[in-house]
């Protein structure tokens, strides 16, 4: 076991810094482009630049939640512990990015619409999504370790199935009620789109990097727990019970 740990550590040692540097470059380039490179929006002014963080965070979060769903289904079928760890880390990092969306949203909304919060469709569905995955993390925290993976996977499946319902219900809910006029809508300046995509790439790389180290950490923790568990019984004085 120690050997295999070392092996994967080695490959990690090589690949991780390369990816790390790449991500750092992408992130700084993205930041520069967002603050300086991108054209200033005509009506909203500079405040619109938060858009380059708001939207890529949302996309990244959605991808991570999708990964969580896939990993959970895979776990329910194949029962691989690795799938469970993937589900866990994607949910954790996804919640972080989702939180960024929910924080940058009001910051953007306040100067532009004059209100912090509106039950706008996208914002509201993101909030519900955030709630669902936070409850997922709560379940993981509160259930006893042996059954956590199964229970969490079942909840993840239900949560993912809930998403279309959230989307449709809020869509219909909104169409019945007046709401503030959203800026623009329709075409986006190609230069803006370019910056948006750069930032999205950078965020995705960053998310992947965080997930990867978190995966390693969790794997290590579980290996340690297992070794500890098998050892503790040898020596009654360390009785864990």
């Amino acid at each position: 076991m120690i050997q295999s740990l070392n092996d994967s550590n080695d490959s990690m040692k090589r690949a991780f810094p390369i990816l790390g540097v790449l991500t750092a470059i992408l992130l700084s380039y993205g930041l520069y482009m967002a603050l300086v490179g991108a054209p200033t929006e005509r009506t909203m002014g500079d405040v619109q630049r938060i858009f380059y963080y708001h939207v890529p965070s949302a996309w990244t979060a959605f991808i991570l939640f999708f990964v969580n769903f896939g990993a959970s289904v895979f776990y329910l079928i194949k029962r691989r512990p690795a799938a469970d760890i993937v589900a866990l880390v994607s949910a954790e990092v996804g919640v972080v990015f989702c939180t960024i969306v929910l924080v940058t949203g009001p910051i953007w909304a306040r100067p532009v619409w004059g209100i912090w919060w509106t039950w706008d469709m996208r914002l509201t569905s993101t909030l519900v999504l955030w709630l669902i995955y936070v409850s997922y993390l709560f379940l993981r925290r509160f259930s006893s370790s042996g059954q956590t993976p199964t229970l969490a996977a079942a909840l993840a499946v239900l949560g993912a199935l809930c998403v279309p319902f959230v989307y449709f219900s809020i869509w219909f809910f909104r169409t019945q009620h007046p709401q503030p006029v959203m800026g623009g809508g329709g075409s986006i300046d190609p230069r803006m789109l370019h910056v948006l995509l750069i930032n999205w790439l950078a965020f995705s790389c960053f998310a992947f990097l965080v997930c990867w180290s978190r995966y390693r950490l969790e794997k290590l923790q579980r290996d340690v727990d297992q070794a500890h568990a098998l050892e503790s019984l040898l020596d009654p004085r360390r009785g864990v019970r």
């Binding site: 409850s135 379940l139 059954q147 239900l158 219900s169």
Partner: protein, 224 residues
């Protein structure tokens, strides 16, 4: 082996009998729902016109609270003396147990609602402008949505720490679309507007979640 429906039936009858013998749960639950209605009525004192606008939300939030308290009791009896293990080692299918629990809770929550609704009508001077049978339909569909998910999540939170608080934490987020549909359709019907979209949404929600809960229940029951 007897048919799965037969096992559902005997389990449901057994639950009802146990519930009937120790009436504590029913009584405290009935009293709790009465309290909810009264507290809500004190908190808001609207005119008849206003109450029509807010009643949908009020009624369903009150039902939700009452339902959570009821749902938390679902598995308590099965956990005491670990009777659930006796079910798990038997050849009886897990889904029969789930179906029995869902039906039991449905009956239970419906009784609570039937008690609370007249009080709401009296306290808020409610009169529906739309067809009343639609309200009944929404009540059945909405209660089913809460009860199916609630029974499932109650089973899930069985072996978690701080079990009682876990249920709402799991149940509320996933029920948001259903709750929205119940509230909106109730308000729409009270005001004599169409609620077709919401009813269709509720039916779909019920179908999807009932199916998935049945598919996953055995896994959750045997998770260890």
């Amino acid at each position: 082996m007897s048919a799965p429906t037969g096992i559902t039936r005997v389990t449901l009858l057994k639950d009802l009998r146990l519930e009937w013998r120790s009436k504590d749960a029913i009584n405290s639950m009935l009293f709790f729902s009465l309290l909810v209605v009264v507290v809500f009525s004190f908190s808001f004192d609207p005119s008849a016109e206003e109450s029509r606008q807010i009643a949908g939300g009020l009624i369903w939030v009150a039902f939700l609270f009452a339902a959570v308290v009821a749902l938390n009791q679902t598995w308590a009896r099965e956990i005491r003396n670990q009777v659930l293990d006796a079910y798990r080692v038997s050849p009886a299918p897990a889904n029969s147990l789930f179906a029995a629990k869902v039906l039991g809770n449905f009956i239970f929550v419906t009784v609570l609602e039937a008690l609370m609704t007249p009080l709401f009508i009296v306290f808020y001077r409610l009169r529906a402008l739309g067809p009343a049978w639609q309200l009944l339909l929404v009540a059945v569909l909405g209660t089913w949505a809460l009860v199916v998910n609630g029974t499932f999540f109650a089973a899930m939170s069985l072996r978690t720490r701080s079990r009682e608080i876990m249920l709402p934490l799991l149940l509320f987020p996933i029920s948001i679309p259903a709750i929205l549909a119940m509230v909106q359709s109730t308000t729409a019907i009270l005001n004599g507007e169409g609620a077709r979209f919401w009813i269709v949404l509720l039916v779909t929600y019920d179908l999807v979640f009932t199916t998935v809960c049945l598919l996953l229940f055995e896994t959750v029951l045997n998770a260890e």
